[in-house]
Symmetry: C2
Subunit: 380 residues, 2 copies
């Protein structure tokens, strides 16, 4: 019998799990939110992941259930576990990823390096944090944020009154409190991906540099330039510790700040394949998507070596203002025959991640140039 | 609108077109022979490709129709073209691939190097050919042969009487005559793959060495050792000429003999991705499957460069005597974390191609060892 993987969520992460599943002879089925999802080729079912009955029915006969996102409610996750379904990452691990306050508390308790932070229940808490941190800080909603949403830089305790008004225990809301964080004086952002099997083995890819624009990942350089040695050692040790201490299974991506005083601090965690690991499809012997499938099935993990010295990934954000990515393929392919173009099969929309381009090679300037040049063809 | 490719035939070649289609954002649909085909994830329809109505209905709305095999009857292909469907490769090109006698006639007419051959209508023709060629030769059926089937080495004019009895004009039969070929004194077998767009552009991968066992491809080494220069130039020139002269579109694989007197002769042609090109999935910037999709859609062709010096592919022939390939994954993955394992999702059966393994690297002995070691795990 083939091994069967069920993925909850039909976004581009589920979509990109399909090719390695086909390669390894795994059956893959996706529970998508709607018809025409990015993962539609494997979306055997469309249904609401908030409904335990829908999810339990989908899980039937699957060797493992994993995820395209971290939003499946805990009661639904627990219903799966109670029914004897293998769920990776586990509900307990996902609980940490689902709430930024829980995450900060756990990471601090483990003793991992994080920015200064505080729990905010009322504007007075924010005023106190501002007073301690030079009058400026970052405020984040504990839940529901992504790609820069749910994040504000503030210098006025009244600047997030709208969020304070929304605080509640409802798990579908923004959380019961807000998170304040110091504004970190960072040189650049890094990301470290690892994969961990339930049986405990962990492998790491090289630490990468992630270049953000408007709070969204725009480009990734793998490995991060000038990271060999101390920086990469610290990044890998942090990610391995997070994976082990939080019992994460599958791929874990740790977004990091490299500070101007040469420290490495944890920014965010993602317990799934992550945008900063897309380069691995074309740049590593084992992509993050193949590795995630191996890890959640508790199969031995693959080699994370790279073929070329450098890989560069550029996101296609928004896509063309008129027409589709497909319309732009002829020019992009003609100009950059070595670029690996990835189209997520989504309708263009301003700011939306609709695809990415990866190039590899041994001359970083050339690799960056080619990736940007190819990606440009898909924008206006 | 996404570009839509329809593939006729649900074997492993169609299966392996699915990952690059997902990558490039192409919609891919397969007309499979039966439920549970190797390409089942994209097999939106099950039907008989001999039935023009079935194939015409399948072709509706597709930007191009292409193939997993060369067996679609000419009247069905012509019905597609008459209905305005874009068909690549064309019926005229496939006509040459469907009949070994037609192929030999066309290649000889173009002036390309082929083994001595003759058309056999009766045992007397075979006796005459044996008399001219030292009493031994190869006899092949014009149609219906593959993987060593329809091929015999004979030294007696009565040795293929059963085939002579079956000769007919029925296109589903073995053909109206047999093909005799000299027994070529060859050093090794090579294969040269190219891809050609309808607009004429052609790209070539490196020539490879193909190691056959019992008439079936067992291993491929890319590039063929000690082929740089004259051998690779001849192989590429032959394949480019075949593609151009026969107006082949998509991937063309030319199986070649390297003779003991340093000539290169054409053995067989395949107008589709081919077993000798599977290494390109993991060893080349553009795999033969991605390139085939680009070519049949008349999109610009991709870079055929390689990441590592060597790629070695070993077929998994037959599969395990008990259980499935999935059962053997843990041991194979643990022993060879860098091996790329490909499972075609087919039931094991003696001699059947059920998967393959590819390894890459810069030390050929090591690359060969690792590919064989990984593949061994899937056999008994």
């Amino acid at each position: 019998m083939a091994l069967t993987v069920g993925v909850i969520g039909g976004g581009q992460l589920a979509r990109m799990m399909v090719p390695p599943a086909i390669g390894l002879g795994l059956e893959i089925e996706v529970l998508a939110e709607n018809e025409g999802s990015s993962a539609r080729i494997a979306a055997t079912e469309v249904g609401d992941y908030h409904d335990a009955d829908v999810v339990l029915a989908f899980a039937k006969g699957k060797d493992v259930i994993t995820f395209d996102h971290e939003h499946v409610p805990q009661p639904v996750l627990k219903a799966l576990v109670d029914a004897g379904v293998s769920v990776h990452p586990s509900p307990a691990a996902l609980f940490v990823a689902q709430d930024k306050l829980v995450m900060r508390e756990r990471l601090s308790a483990i003793g991992l390096p994080v920015p200064d932070w505080a729990r905010l229940s009322a504007p007075a808490d924010l005023q106190a944090f501002l007073d301690e941190h030079g009058g400026r800080c970052v405020v984040k909603t504990a839940r529901g944020g992504y790609d820069g949403k749910g994040v504000r830089v503030v210098s006025d305790a009244a600047a997030v009154d709208d969020w304070f008004a929304q605080l509640s225990d409802d798990p579908a809301g923004i959380g019961a409190a807000l998170l304040a964080e110091e504004l970190v004086d960072f040189r650049r952002e890094l990301a470290q991906s690892v994969a961990r099997r339930p049986s405990g083995d962990v492998v790491a890819w090289p630490v990468v540099e992630s270049i953000q624009r408007d709070g969204v990942c725009a480009e990734v350089i793998a490995p991060a330039p000038a990271s060999a040695g101390r920086i990469s050692d610290m990044a890998e040790e942090i990610a391995r510790t997070v994976a082990r201490e939080l019992d994460v299974t599958g791929v874990l991506a740790v977004e990091l700040f490299e500070t101007t005083d040469d420290r490495v601090l944890i920014n965010e965690l993602a317990m799934r394949p992550h945008n900063t690991g897309h380069w691995s499809i074309d740049g590593s012997t084992t992509s993050q998507f193949e590795q995630h499938l191996r890890a959640v099935l508790d199969l031995p993990l693959g080699d994370t070596g790279t073929h070329d010295e450098w890989s560069v990934m550029v996101n296609v954000l928004g896509g063309p203002a008129t027409g589709t990515i497909a319309d732009r393929l002829p020019r992009a392919m003609a100009d950059e025959p070595g670029a690996k173009i990835h189209d997520y099969g989504k309708d263009p929309r301003p700011g939306r991640k609709v695809g990415h381009v990866t190039t590899t090679g041994d001359d970083l300037d050339d690799v960056v140039y080619r990736a940007r040049a190819a990606a440009e063809h898909f924008l206006d």
